[in-house]
């Protein structure tokens, strides 16, 4: 039943989120240092004032009480306050989110197109020089750090050929190089899965049967092969979304873009742990939601999954 499938997946997603939130809570508690002192360090507060603040923040309560309050706050989308800026973490993240999301979406588009362009010919011309060439290119994509390909892109497309701006944001032109570089890095993994899936489906009996019925190669490819091969490829693309957020952190630094990446790097340098935790939780949420969406899309593409006949 589709409803059971949906429900099972949703419960799994909530469970993973709870686990991620708990890990983030424990990590912050394990860290040496006094949050109240960190919050008030800049203002030169006395130890009495710090003790008052500790009580206000509930830091003197037993750990289970603090944990319960933390979970309630999370459900109410309250991520706490930055130790460095004294501002709500949620607000700081919301300000930076659009820039990072724009980069992630543009890069995913690049990666999917490039991944298909590399993976499909490799599978359809398996064992030929086309396969060797495209497979080699996808390993290079996987192995090239974005912090290097980004610099090369700036060197060639901003300095030698002044086509695109090398830093900052604002216009669509600013997005071209970062999205291209990040999409390039991501396309390798997608190409591999596309190739493996298409190769497997090409050997399936129903493809042989479709060919035997005399369907045109184009119809076999689009109706029988791609429909069955792209489901798993889609799931991997969604899993890559987490990699995409990691990659966005580095890419933002290379191209001096503001965004979640810049926020979290600064937070780590200044040990602003609530901000680090907030960005982590948003990343985990994004990951869980995208893999949930991918699973639902797969179920839509492949009725066998809906029926639980995996």
């Amino acid at each position: 039943m589709a409803a059971t499938y949906l429900f099972r997946r949703a419960v799994g997603a909530v469970f993973v989120l709870w686990l991620a939130a708990t890990l983030a809570f424990l990590a912050l508690k394990l860290t040496p240092g006094d949050p109240a002192r960190a919050l008030l360090a800049a203002s030169g507060a006395t130890s009495d004032e710090i003790a008052v603040r500790r009580a206000q923040l509930g830091l003197d309560d037993p750990l289970p009480v603090q944990y319960g309050r933390y979970l309630v706050e999370l459900v109410r989308v309250d991520l706490g306050e930055s130790w460095l800026h004294g501002r709500p973490v949620g607000q700081m993240i919301v300000e930076q989110l659009p820039s990072t999301v724009a980069l992630a979406i543009a890069a995913t588009a690049v990666a999917v197109v490039l991944g298909l362009l590399l993976g499909l010919p490799a599978a359809l011309r398996q064992g030929t020089w086309v396969d060797t060439l495209t497979t080699s290119i996808s390993v290079v994509c996987l192995s090239t750090p974005t912090y290097w390909s980004g610099l090369l892109a700036i060197l060639v497309f901003s300095l030698y050929l002044p086509l695109f701006p090398s830093a900052g944001q604002g216009s669509p032109g600013h997005l071209v190089l970062p999205a291209g570089v990040l999409g390039f890095a991501m396309s390798g993994a997608i190409a591999r899965v596309v190739r493996a899936q298409v190769v497997e489906v090409l050997r399936a009996n129903y493809v042989v049967a479709a060919r035997a019925k005399g369907l045109t190669p184009r119809r076999v490819l689009f109706v029988h092969v791609l429909r069955n091969a792209l489901g798993p490829a889609l799931a991997v693309t969604a899993l890559q979304f987490g990699f995409m957020l990691s990659g966005a952190v580095v890419t933002e630094s290379v191209f001096a873009r503001s965004g979640l990446g810049k926020l979290v790097v600064q937070a780590i340098v200044w040990r602003d742990l609530p901000v680090v935790r907030g960005v982590m939780l948003v990343a985990a949420l994004a990951f869980v939601l995208t893999s949930l969406a991918a699973d639902l899309a797969r179920g839509w593409l492949d009725p066998r999954l809906r029926e639980g006949l995996q």
């Binding site: 993973v16 192995s143 987490g242 990691s246 780590i268 680090v276």
Partner: protein, 270 residues
């Protein structure tokens, strides 16, 4: 994946793993021989020789302080390889027992351990490593620990899958039937038979580990300023991209080739 005869495929692929192994050997030799080849050390600067292009007097050029790029790359190979090996060892030391316990025991042990592993895998790798860095503080040791811990959950998952495959073999039933303890079965029967697959995955992980360590160093969270770590050299060269592209292009090339070699070797082994 291929339906070709195994022998033919192996013959076709052979030059690539050889080239990959050769490059890793070159990096390894440079790392070991750096003190002998360039006794002046990676910090030796000569302001009169700043930003020299690659040429006869300076094979890979010099950076903005007049330090030889090739000398720094050789000394940096020591840092990169040592930290990479430490991170990989940590990933295996944490991930392998968890995976073997989960896959070997099955049941509720498996369920609990794998749910925890899934929780860790919900965080994007680099962000998880950065969170560990936030707890530990910055520095090259923290980078190795953070990256090693980040790689451990994936290793646990793979070790579990492999252990489950081995566990259903008749010789495990036989060992259980003659009264071997679970620990003995894990150590003496499952581990040796799962070995090759585990080594292969560790090799494939090395590429990802090196990339992530380079990223943390590039972001300035790792090695001390001025140290010849490759990711950091790349970041240092950024300010002189127009005048001296070699100062960042060569460290990036060295890192990319090393990651590529590790990935190709991992592929070839499978």
């Amino acid at each position: 994946m291929s339906s070709r005869p195994a022998g033919r495929r192996a013959r076709r692929l052979r030059p690539i793993p050889i080239a990959a192994a050769t490059w890793l050997a070159v990096v390894g030799v440079l790392a070991v021989a750096a003190p002998g080849l360039a006794p002046e050390g990676p910090a030796a600067a000569d302001a009169a020789r700043a930003l020299l292009p690659p040429g006869a007097s300076s094979p890979l050029g010099t950076d903005f302080l007049g330090r030889e790029i090739w000398v720094r790359l050789a000394w940096g190979a020591r840092l990169t390889l040592a930290a990479g090996a430490a991170a990989l060892a940590l990933a295996v030391a944490v991930g392998l027992p968890v995976g073997l316990a989960a896959g070997g025991r099955g049941g509720w042990v498996d369920s609990v351990l794998m749910r925890i592993v899934d929780g860790f895998l919900a965080f994007p790798g680099l962000l998880l490593a950065m969170a560990v860095m936030a707890v530990l503080g910055t520095g090259m040791d923290s980078v190795a620990i953070a990256v090693g811990l980040t790689a451990a959950p994936a290793y646990a998952r793979v070790a579990r899958t492999i252990a489950r495959e081995v566990r259903v073999q008749p010789y495990i039933d036989a060992a259980r039937a003659i009264g071997c303890s679970p620990w003995r079965i894990a150590a003496r029967h499952i581990l040796p038979n799962a070995g090759p697959a585990l080594v292969s995955f560790a090799g494939a992980q090395l590429g990802a580990i090196l990339l992530m360590m380079g990223a943390l160093n590039f972001l300035g969270l790792g090695a001390a300023p001025g140290s010849p770590e490759w990711g950091m050299m790349l970041a240092d060269g950024r300010g002189y991209l127009r005048q001296a592209p070699w100062a960042s292009v060569f460290p990036g090339l060295a890192l990319t080739l090393t990651v590529l070699a590790a990935n190709l070797l991992g592929d070839a082994w499978q």
